[in-house]
Symmetry: C3
Subunit: 161 residues, 3 copies
């Protein structure tokens, strides 16, 4: 059995089903794409257990509290792991996290983006050993995100060559 | 003859000349840079047939309509393909699109960034076969872009090793 | 002696000590991470000689002038070079700058992000020969940055394989 999955299970963390894309829009790209040993991850948002995008929606520091946003960043990590697992079969194939770009839908004056994206990094730290989980990171404030999601994250991981 | 060029020609899509950089600013970096088999693409904006930056300018959802922005994202794709062709000689050398980061100059409340960046992805889908064109993507809202362009896109492609 | 260090010394440019992380926040990620010959750089802000984050703080075009922001972008370059040197030992090991993503905390209407990020590119041009220094770049406006820093920059460089 996948050690990564085992760690997630033990922590009570559940991977969501594929995103139920809102009806009014076409998203003509894959969530994850493997090119050699590099795995590119499209911008993901947080998901509910039924696959829909998770709220609360809006700007962190206004409609969404920092505490809620931390939770949404964790849900975004799970959405990404779910997409990765669907594409590569077993999360144990990941040998290195590389770059993580954490985007926070930010109300004027909100400046605690790193605290929000820590919700993402915590899940990665649970799922992988420290050497694999190690990722560089930016956590920054956006003027708007699709569907008014509060958090969006993209990045890259490596597979064994 | 380049198959990629042929597909663009058949669709009536024309690659613009090099960007006519606004006089008041120095841009001390290349639009495209080849490092081994990786090709890095600087943030591009939409261009007119004469090489100048294309408007309308301003924020999507305010001065720029969503429909206009979709068109500008398509023009940005053509600007990128033009830069790539000037650097690598023949667009057929591209074997894989990797990561695309689509930035939309967003008015408060505008949340349809993916619809805008679809204007980019459509051009890539016309120019390349499906396996080559496949790219991961983020489409997000910025607080401001250089020269008030409405759309800016950066990314990475791979050449045959 | 490191040629890169020599060039920096000759220009009177000093690399700051590790970031003195503001007490109220946990930053559970490395500033730089080596994966094979690729070196990923987390989002850095400008630093003072004592390692603290450098101000003025706030939005460029409002609390921070363009001229001050250019200086802060240069300080961000030095902070990045310092992180790189601590991780890889000698900056001469860098054979190629790849991608640079320059983020400017932007007041409404500010659209001269490239002029700001030129402060970064100038330092890289001093520290490395032209072929190594060549980097693709985006320079864009953010709705907010951690701790209200005015500039944040992330990127990737390559080491000799």
């Amino acid at each position: 059995m996948s050690r990564t999955r085992e760690r997630l299970d033990r922590a009570g963390l559940v991977l969501p089903p594929p995103l139920a894309v809102p009806a009014e829009i076409d998203l003509p790209f894959p969530w994850v794409s493997v090119r050699g040993d590099r795995v590119f991850i499209s911008g993901h948002g947080p998901q509910n257990p039924d696959g829909s995008l998770a709220g609360p929606f809006g700007k962190v520091g206004a409609e969404v509290s920092e505490e809620e946003a931390v939770d949404l960043a964790g849900k975004t990590a799970l959405a990404i792991l779910a997409s990765l697992e669907r594409e590569i079969g077993d999360l144990d194939r990941i040998v290195a996290w590389c770059r993580v770009f954490g985007m926070v839908n930010s109300a004027p004056g909100f400046n605690r983006q790193p605290a929000v994206i820590n919700g993402f990094s915590s899940v990665i730290a649970i799922a992988f050993d420290a050497e694999t989980a190690r990722h560089t990171r930016s956590a920054v404030g956006m003027a708007g995100l699709p569907f008014d999601i509060a958090v969006e994250i993209e990045g890259e991981v490596l597979l064994a060559p």
